[in-house]
């Protein structure tokens, strides 16, 4: 194993051991937060642990500073991924207020039923290097970018793009957002995605044209899912006629969308 992942370090080993230890004890779940920071002294670490525990919600927070990799690690016994992520928001505030944060942060959650493997732990640690400065990356057991199916998403609504970008990213897709039809087609041409999600009412080039052009392009395997406000009977029929794989009407259930994507891509 060690040979496959050259990035593996002492940090991975220690974390792997610690998390496994925690999961043996009374805890069924354990969250981990890692952040690249400047050096932090023991006193400050204690302070952080106390502040994160101020409501008594995180009884056994362990904070350690890893000299060799230059990162601080918070171990949160008993916390699920969601609450770890939430605690990470506070942790980030603390680190930022103390002017310590220099790189990105990453969070992960492990449970008794899904204990960490060394590989997973290594992926998690390498996530820290890959994440943008001051961004909180979530490790969810997703595959590395090269294996991930690529999805181009075209929608004029930036909020929706942002939301689905994160959601689908967590499901292990490599998402490329575009706000209009032309930009979308450009992405399709250059990245040859496995799937395209598009709105019908787009500036410049509408959804029908996008379906039509993709169906008639060399990249015929690319599936098109229409996600639109504008789904009256006529539109839906037209989409299927043109070769869309699926039509979903907004407001939509992201859960349903994720399930449908999964079916289409497997």
């Amino acid at each position: 194993m060690n040979t496959v992942y050259p990035a593996e370090s002492g940090l991975t080993q220690r974390l792997f051991a610690q998390v496994n230890d925690t999961l043996k004890a009374p805890w069924t779940e354990c969250g981990v937060i890692a952040a690249s920071t400047h050096g932090i002294n023991r006193h400050l670490l204690h302070n952080f642990a106390a502040r994160l525990n101020k409501d008594g919600e995180n009884p056994a927070v362990q904070v350690e500073y890893e000299e060799d990799t230059g990162c601080v690690v918070f171990l949160l016994p008993g916390q699920s991924l969601a609450s770890t992520h939430f605690t990470a928001l506070s942790a980030k505030n603390l680190l930022q207020d103390a002017d310590l944060l220099i790189g990105g942060m990453s969070v992960a959650g492990f449970s008794e039923s899904d204990p960490p493997t060394e590989k997973a732990m290594n992926d998690f640690v390498s996530f820290l290097d890959g994440s943008e400065p001051s961004e909180i990356a979530v490790y969810h057991g997703q595959p590395r970018a090269s294996e991930a199916p690529t999805v181009v998403m075209i929608d004029p609504n930036a909020d929706l793009l942002e939301f689905l970008n994160i959601r689908l990213g967590l499901q292990g897709y490599d998402v490329m957002p575009a706000q209009d039809g032309k930009e979308g087609l450009r992405l399709v041409a250059s990245f040859q995605p496995d799937l395209v999600i598009t709105e019908l009412a787009l500036p410049a080039l509408d959804g029908y044209q996008i379906i039509h052009r993709i169906r008639n392009s060399p990249n015929r395997d690319c599936q098109v899912v229409v996600l639109t406000d504008q789904a009256v009977e006529q539109d839906i029929c037209k989409c299927f006629e043109l070769g869309a794989a699926d039509v979903i009407k907004k407001p939509f259930s992201p859960k349903e969308l994720e399930a449908r994507l999964k079916r289409l891509l497997n």
């Binding site: 209009d180 406000d229 504008q230 009256v232 006529q234 907004k250």
Partner: protein
């Protein structure tokens, strides 16, 4: 003599201030309703309606005559509207350029027999109907040249849906403009028989992919001046008239009508200058004659962008034509004046139009002339002239200010501060030159109208050609000159200047 000149000048000043006050009064009376419209449009989500099965389908009519440079972009922009079910009926009114050909080439249209064409209102013969199953919303109708009104009638005949929206071939719609108009219609489908949109000047704004990306004030003074004019007229004026149900014009650049009523009033009138006022007047008359409840509504949040003429010559031609149109319609419908059953139209809107169109330029020009004469006789009285000009300026300023306030409060305008300052500057300049100029054009328009009225019959056609010759040449010249990737500037707001009777 001197006393007379002075008194005349003073009287003119008061009349100008007075007409402004009357206008403000109309606005004040109608502010309640106006606020209600604004509140409901701010607190609505149009995307919700854009996918609703309950929204009635609309046929968008695009009459086009020699629109080769802009028609493709316009159709592209229309095809990406946020609206559930609609069709775009482009009527090629016997263009002499390649308008039809570029449409056929770009959208790979195929001729098909005119199945959905019915003769509901009179129009000239159609030559062919073109479609492409890939663009199910697009229909192109090729017909013999017959003028804009005739093209619109052909469009009505070809439209398959119960609502028709008219739009100029050189205008661009905001993507939610149509659904906003239709929402107003849906609030009372029985009574809202015509709904007009808000027309704005796009010169100077960045345009790409068939939409206005960032609205900006033009750097040229003439379009910028017209921008101020439009903002004033549309926000200040139409909202007020709409609230009183005294709207006489639904701009030809962007309006929505119930097709059944258009058919009932016989459609657009061929050979009529100012067909957009004509059709609304016909609707008013039809409904009031039968004592049916109805409203002609202005919807300020449905925005349509249009290109304003940017040379004095083209603008002058446009304004003269507008005035001729108004006069033609006023004279056609003069029977409605001061008749009790015609309510607001007969008692207020029509008289106001007459005063505004015919008397106000006289008053402005003659008042100014009187005072100039007076001051020439006695140079020490120069302040009087300045007071006159200042009064003109301030009245205009109050209007600009009111319109901008409405825009800021209701529509969160995206005008940049720099542009705003320029608008204020232009608004001041307006009183010192532009107003007088436009008064002159109105007088010239009046002259055109009267001259023609002497020998009505065949004079009409000849004059069409006379005048049209100028803009056609200049437009062509400009098209070949300008090689910018943006749309070549075209004139019109509903009145296409290059509509000519070809025979």
């Amino acid at each position: 003599m001197r006393t007379f000149l002075l008194d005349y000048g003073i009287a003119a000043t008061y009349l100008i201030v007075g007409s402004g006050l009357m206008y403000l009064f109309i606005l004040a009376v109608s502010h309640q309703r106006m606020l209600s419209i604004v509140k409901s449009s701010v607190n609505s989500r149009y995307r919700e309606l854009a996918g609703s099965e309950y929204v009635p389908p609309v046929s968008i009519l695009v009459p086009s005559f020699n629109e080769e440079p802009t028609i493709i972009e316009n159709v592209h922009s229309l095809m990406t509207l946020e609206f559930p079910v609609y069709e775009i009926v482009v009527v090629n009114d016997g263009s002499t350029d390649r308008t039809l050909q570029v449409l056929l080439d770009t959208f790979e249209l195929q001729p098909c027999s005119p199945a959905s064409f019915r003769s509901l209102v009179p129009s000239k013969a159609i030559r062919n109907v073109y479609r492409n199953p890939l663009y199910p919303r697009l229909v192109v109708i090729d017909k013999e040249n017959g003028g804009k009104a005739d093209a619109l009638n052909a469009g009505i005949n070809a439209a398959q849906y119960p609502l028709v929206a008219t739009i100029d071939a050189d205008s661009l719609l905001e993507k939610d403009a149509l659904i906003r108009l239709v929402k107003v219609y849906m609030e009372n489908p029985q009574q809202h028989i015509a709904v007009g949109g808000n027309v704005r000047i796009a010169n100077g704004s960045t345009i790409g992919d068939g939409r206005v990306l960032s609205p900006k004030l033009s750097n040229k003074w003439l379009p910028a001046m017209q921008y101020v004019e439009y903002v004033r007229a549309f926000l200040g004026g139409r909202i007020g008239w709409s609230a009183m149900n005294g709207l006489l014009i639904v701009s030809g650049a962007f309006g929505l009508f119930r097709k059944d009523y258009l058919v009932k009033v016989g459609g657009y009138e061929a050979g009529c200058p100012g067909e957009d006022m004509n059709i609304v007047m016909k609707l008013h008359k039809y409904m009031l004659d039968r004592n049916l409840p109805y409203r002609v509504v202005f919807c300020p949040d449905a925005v349509c962008w249009t290109q304003a003429p940017d040379t004095l010559r083209m603008l002058g031609a446009q304004r003269r034509r507008w005035l001729r149109g108004s006069l033609w319609n006023v004279s056609r419908f003069r029977g409605m004046l001061f008749i009790p059953k015609y309510k607001v139209i007969g008692w207020l809107a029509l008289p106001y139009t007459i005063i505004y169109e015919i008397f106000s330029p006289w008053i402005r020009i003659s008042g100014l002339a009187a005072l100039v004469g007076y001051v020439l006789l006695d140079m020490t009285q120069l302040p009087i002239l300045l007071i006159f000009l200042l009064a003109n300026l301030l009245v205009g300023m109050v209007f600009t200010c009111g319109s901008l306030l409405i825009e800021e409060l209701a529509f969160r305008s995206s005008i940049r501060t720099n542009d705003l300052l320029r608008i204020i500057g232009f608004s001041a300049m307006m009183a010192l030159g532009y107003d007088q100029l436009s008064a002159c054009w109105k007088l010239l328009g009046l002259w055109d109208y009267l001259r023609r009225n002497d020998a009505w019959g065949n004079m009409v056609r000849r004059s069409w050609q006379d005048e049209a010759a100028i803009p056609v040449v200049s437009v062509k010249a400009r098209v070949s000159r300008t090689k910018t990737p943006q749309r070549t500037g075209r004139l019109t707001d509903g009145h296409n200047p290059i509509y000519i009777e070809m025979e």
